[in-house]
Symmetry: C2
Subunit: 453 residues, 2 copies
């Protein structure tokens, strides 16, 4: 959704592109924040987007815009640039943003880009970042942080701050010993409030909240969130300061992880975002889990075939199959979603899982009784047989109770074996519930019809 | 998931509670961060939690812990406290956190709490916050911000900072005119870097990114995120500074909104979190949308009954009903989730919706061909009839294509009429797809069986 102001900008940019008014376009862009240009680019079609991009001459501005773009758009704008050009753009970026761009390139091109870059410090920083495993603190940290030795005075520290023009967001001064090990932290406010002759080790907080390079980015986000930090220092296994992760990166992580969970839960992946316009590739991302569900539904179909051959009054029971499947499926998804989200938020710990399963089964029983009783009265309306209402209602009660159980059991099992519980939970659970639901339905009806039919 | 360090703390707290070692427990708690105590409380059972809470005597610590707790736990610990006691606890909080607590209380108790509070400034701040509509910038802003008049010098500003001990997180100095209208902003770093005799209006940035009191919190989050801010000032309709929203609140908003979407998508609500242990109330939250689905599944059932009476070879077609329903249901959820998440992230704007529907239909066709062709070969294995394989495969192709269409059409329609697209999309879409899928299946088979059967 665009803000009204951005909509106006978007429309005027579109007009200028159509009129091919290059100078006016350049002037309009110069008044916009790079983040706004990134959004405008995202809202243009391919041809207009290319024209907009070709109109930007300043490599620093390109770097600022790219740092705000989503991955698919970044690939769009850099894929047909020469490695020299890409190198000149990423030179204007923080090393973590530069590494993010280089990571998107095929290996041979990324090597070439690195070789064209001018600043050897930046090259080694980017190379180092590329070496960390994806989704770890090391791979996302910013290596151009601001730190000072513990023997520095407040006055010297304030002076150093003047020189530190390229350090993007300085919130805290990290204090290190002679081996560059992290020993303390001082906020800018503390620095202002202390007399100039004091040494940093006299005023620093020594109990520094930090993360290590190999920690998962999701855990980093939780630390920053829990302690309301603006930035968290990242240290290696020897407690040597390696970089910082700032709160704006943490916000991106939180968004990304939620998106990943949304996609995974329906059996897709956020790789889709990379293939925004390639239906074939998107289908390839989604098909694997659909095929797993397909196999499951074949089992459900075999169950149905079996009962078709063996169940008494099968023809009277069949019309209720969609109701049983739909209700069990939805009740199961509800339970699964609640559990998966609770775990992602850190609100549910492993020891809570058994109580939650029991709670979900109680909820399932209450919902099953409600829907079951409704069915007892409604089903005879078009089956004509009161006993069928009783059969279907009873089966619904069991099917929904079991559905809420399997809705928590499947993700809990995934957690137990250290998988992400969001992995395709929804298709997998609905598959399981289809099989269970149909089996229960026809088994219950077989028993009840034998006694009451 | 608890960190290993927190697990150890949790275990030792549990032991101390069981041994009733009050002094040792107090000592252990004094060493923990309030955020950690909140997490430990969340991981205790009701009885141990109550014991832990009763062991905390310091009202300031109580306030700090409550500010870190989730709503359900806050209700737990304050619901059996006297209004006087609650007043003494919230007096130690920032006014936005205090308002959050008071908001959870029944009206008569919240009035009583306000009357017991000592600081009349804080009372009026809290009352003002309670007046703003929920989920607006006004309702979540912190009213104790730090602002100075534009005529102030850098030296005076630095001095004022010394006095501002109670201002929690000062990142920016907001600069106002004589009417308290927001005219500029200065970062702490700019303040350090400028000569002491300069006046604020000489060095401030005048183009201040801000939000208004009535803006939706989700939009506030997007502003902070887009411009990588640490805090955003909130102004009223006359541009008078009313408060600030800090990045830690924004992180909470982002988490909350994603959670809300997860819950809504399966036809539940995050109200569930308030009733963690009351199965009856949870069932009440989930049942309304299950009943909508129920009505839809009755329609599907009527469709099936109709074809049972009219379709040729119905008995041979029935076993494939679960396969058609499962595949159409899952393909539809995938499309819906991708659209809903894209809109929530601001990556999809209203003008993108038609192209996305077309893209999803293309994806649906590709997946439909794949699964359809598989069925052509597999179905005859247990139906025994090759023509049935052809019928089921063709129907699957149409059902999946239409499912991806309705998976985007339903949320798009909700957006069109200004509803949140996440509202119960999943149950509603699966209901629609069940009805459509069955209708298509039997219609296609009727046509094909007439010519080839």
């Amino acid at each position: 959704m665009l803000t009204p102001r951005l909509k106006v900008s978007l429309e005027s940019v579109k007009k200028l592109i159509r009129r091919n008014a290059k100078v006016a376009l350049e002037k309009t862009l110069s008044k916009l924040h790079p983040a706004d240009i990134a959004i405008i680019y995202n809202n243009l079609n391919d041809i207009d987007g290319k024209k907009l991009w070709n109109n930007i001459k300043d490599e620093k501005l390109m770097a600022e815009i790219i740092a705000e773009m989503n991955e698919a758009d970044v690939i769009d704008v850099i894929s047909d640039q020469k490695p020299e050009k890409i190198a000149r753009i990423v030179e204007h970026m923080e090393s973590d943003d530069a590494a993010d761009v280089v990571r998107l390139l095929p290996d041979e091109i990324s090597d070439s880009v690195l070789s064209f870059m001018g600043d050897s410090d930046q090259i080694s920083e980017v190379e180092q970042l590329l070496n960390y495993e994806e989704y770890t603190a090391g791979s996302i940290m910013n290596t151009s942080y601001f730190s000072l030795n513990e023997e520095t005075t407040v006055k010297e520290a304030t002076k150093s701050l003047h020189g530190a023009k390229n350090v993007d967001m300085v919130f805290y001064l990290y204090v290190t010993d002679d081996e560059n090990r992290l020993v303390g932290v001082i906020s800018l406010r503390q620095l202002i409030l202390n007399p100039p002759e004091k040494k940093l080790y006299e005023i620093m907080t020594t109990d520094v909240i930090h993360v290590t390079t190999y920690e998962d980015q999701e855990d980093v986000a939780k630390v920053v969130e829990k302690y309301d930090l603006l930035a968290v220092p990242v240290v290696d296994e020897f407690n040597v300061l390696a970089g910082i992760i700032t709160v704006d990166d943490v916000i991106d992580i939180i968004r990304e992880e939620a998106t990943e969970d949304f996609y995974m839960m329906v059996g897709s992946s956020d790789d889709e975002l990379l293939f925004a316009n390639n239906s074939m590739k998107i289908a390839k991302v989604r098909l694997p889990w659909l095929i797993v569900t397909f196999v499951g539904s074949i089992v459900a179909s075999i169950v149905l075939t079996f009962f078709q051959g063996h169940a008494r009054d099968f023809a009277m029971l069949v019309p209720f199959v969609p109701i049983i499947m739909a209700m069990a499926g939805n009740a199961g998804s509800q339970s699964a979603t609640i559990l998966i989200r609770g775990v992602a938020l850190g609100k549910i710990s492993t020891s809570d899982i058994i109580p939650i399963m029991l709670k979900e089964m109680r909820v399932g029983m209450i919902m099953g009784i409600t829907i079951g009783v409704l069915l007892v009265f409604i089903a005879p309306l078009w089956s004509g047989s009161p006993i069928i209402g009783f059969v279907v209602g009873t089966a619904m009660f069991f099917a929904m109770t079991l559905a809420t159980f399997s809705g928590t059991f499947v993700p809990a099992t995934l957690i137990r074996f250290n998988f992400d519980p969001a992995v395709a939970s929804s298709p997998f659970i609905s598959m399981l519930n289809d099989i269970l639901g149909l089996s229960i339905y026809f088994s219950v009806s077989a028993v009840l019809l034998r006694y009451f039919g």
